[in-house]
């Protein structure tokens, strides 16, 4: 029995004006796996994620072609783009604490979606903060301003916020570049737990991070897919492509 992939991207092309950024990218992500995407800077990784949750539409020069299917449905044809963004959570590289209280930071998305009952919101806020490994540190200071937290705490707050609309998919875009190693480790532990409930796409420039966390990894270079493979093959001495070996071992990048 072939399982329907959770996400299927078919021949995705993206151009900003005359400059092509993604040239025919295709891959599949299965349910409840951590799918890693690695590649040097400017290879189109962030743009790829922005196509997934359609925030690419905020760039007026961007032109997208190809199909992105979530559970068989093309996201570009979905009427309610806000519902899509609730189903696909996104964590940006730089930690952002909204200038609201911690509670309001996490309750923001559910409230926008229509959830208003305090008991449900309280439970949801606690659950998300626990999943993001932040609850113990802030549970007595929930009305403290989100912007006053440290960088590592703000990134975990961002993850809690991304989890608050109860998404099916979580995308993380180089989440660790602006935070300390200890917090990075705690978030990685949290991701391993989250894998049981969500499908996770992990874009990272830290090759070893993909090796630690992902089940399968994709190497994106210059807007093209070089290789997609299970980690055992991808990070071995004989991956499918020579370029993969060279990148993983630091010969270029």
């Amino acid at each position: 029995m072939v399982a329907t992939p959770h996400i299927a991207v078919r021949d995705l092309r993206l151009a900003y004006g005359p400059k092509e950024v993604l040239r025919g990218v295709s891959f599949e992500v299965r349910r409840n796996e951590i799918f890693g995407i690695i590649g040097p800077a400017q290879s189109g990784k962030t743009s790829l994620l922005r196509c997934l949750n359609r925030t690419i539409e905020f760039s007026s020069a961007a032109r997208v072609a190809g199909a992105i299917l979530v559970d068989g449905q093309d996201v570009r044809k979905m009427a309610d783009v806000h519902e899509l963004r609730r189903r696909i959570g996104m964590v940006a590289p730089l930690p952002v604490g909204l200038p609201l209280s911690i509670y309001d930071n996490v309750a923001f998305a559910p409230r926008c979606a229509g959830l208003t009952r305090k008991a449900e919101l309280d439970a949801l806020v606690e659950r998300c903060l626990r999943q993001a490994a932040l609850w113990d540190e802030v549970k007595d200071h929930l009305d403290c301003l989100g912007t006053r937290l440290s960088g590592g705490q703000q990134q975990r707050l961002t993850i809690a916020r991304a989890l608050s609309p109860q998404p099916e998919i979580l995308c993380l875009d180089e989440f660790s570049i602006a935070i300390d190693p200890v917090t990075t480790m705690r978030i990685e532990e949290a991701l391993k737990e989250l894998k049981r409930e969500l499908t996770i796409i992990l874009v990272t420039n830290l090759v070893q991070q993909a090796r630690r966390l992902a089940t399968r990894t994709m190497f994106l270079w210059n807007g093209e897919v070089v290789e997609i493979n299970a980690n055992e093959v991808f990070f071995s001495d004989h991956p499918a492509s020579r370029k993969t070996y060279e990148y993983v071992n630091g010969r270029f990048g």
Binding site: N53, T55, F58, S60, H82, E83, L84, R85, R86, G89, M90, A92, L94, V96, L98, P99, L100, F108, A109, C112, A113, L145, T147, T158, R161, A162, S164, P165
Partner: protein
């Protein structure tokens, strides 16, 4: 020479000179620096001094007439005596009604320009229109109010026509200050909100607007004094020479009535009423200045408080 000289070898300096000696060149530089500083200070002071003298002189000449009765009484005896109550109330009406039209519309226009509109020729055209609207002379606003509200819209000479004219006059500044305030909210906040499925308006309501209020207040502060002080736009659209109002009456005007206003009243007393008691126009000027400065001070205080609670 107080300290032993340290002469770098071959530096070509005078024997016995140090790097930090007060040579003639250095003394000349320091002198021109001090001179420049004092000249520029003098120029700045040239603005402060007239202001202080002005206020002091006005107060001195106004003293004989200033009293609580002056504020509460209507003008008496063909305006040669009495107080300024109807004009005071009229000015308050015009400021409140005028700002309650121009502030919401101006804020919404700024929200559109900064949050919704794309950067293209249309956006540029609107920005140009705002700049030009800001530069239109007040008398042309008066002509516009006359042609559009008094005649074309058939509102006639009324508080409504005058307030609408004032609203259009003050809108550009509200738009510009609000825009700057909105633009100062970091873009990262908006992206974080969009990423969790909030709509544009939900983002604006939750994050952008609450953090732009101090900038909006700046626009309001600038415009309160203009609304209270402008004469030409109301002279031909709804302000009137005299209107019978009772002492201390808080709601003497309907929207369709004509009204008195402090600015108009001052102009009339200064130029068109013969035999007026000397200190009366000075007292009117002091009341007008007082109203303007008081409201300014209150709003500035509010803005300082809001800025101290900066959230990022």
């Amino acid at each position: 020479m107080k300290t032993p000289p340290i002469t770098p070898a071959g530096a070509g300096m005078q024997p016995g000179a140090t790097m930090f000696a007060e040579t003639r060149l250095v003394r000349r530089k320091l002198f021109s620096e001090a001179l420049a500083k004092w000249i520029f200070f003098g120029m700045a002071a040239a603005m402060v001094v007239p202001l202080l003298c002005l206020v002091a002189y006005l107060l001195a000449r106004a003293m004989p007439s200033l009293s609580l009765n002056f504020l509460l009484d209507p003008p008496l005896h063909n305006m040669t005596q009495g107080g300024v109550w109807p004009a005071l109330v009229g000015t308050v009406y015009l400021v409140v009604i005028g700002l309650s039209i121009s502030v919401p519309v101006g804020v919404m226009a700024a929200v559109y320009l900064n949050e919704y509109a794309r950067e293209n020729w249309f956006h540029r055209a609107i920005t140009m229109a705002v700049i030009n609207l800001a530069g239109v002379p007040s008398i042309v606003h008066a002509l516009f109010g006359l042609g559009a509200f008094v005649y074309a819209a058939r509102f006639g000479y009324s508080v409504l026509s005058a307030a609408l004219t004032l609203a259009i006059m003050t809108m550009p500044v509200v738009i510009t200050s609000t825009r700057e305030a909105l633009a100062s909210v970091p873009h990262g906040f908006r992206e974080a909100c969009w990423n969790v499925g909030a709509t544009r308006w939900q983002t604006i309501k939750a994050v952008v607007l609450p953090n732009s209020i101090s900038g909006m207040l700046t626009g309001v502060i600038l415009e309160v004094s203009r609304t209270a002080g402008e004469t030409a736009p109301i002279m031909f659209t709804g302000a009137v020479f005299f209107k019978a109002v009772e002492r201390g009456d808080l709601f003497p005007y309907h929207l369709t009535d004509q009204c008195m206003a402090l600015s108009m009243h001052l102009y009339v007393l200064a130029t068109q009423v013969p035999g007026v008691k000397e200190s009366l126009p000075f007292a009117t000027a002091v009341v007008l200045l007082g109203v303007v400065l008081l409201v300014n001070a209150a709003l500035i205080g509010l803005r300082v408080y809001l800025r101290s609670r900066k959230r990022w």
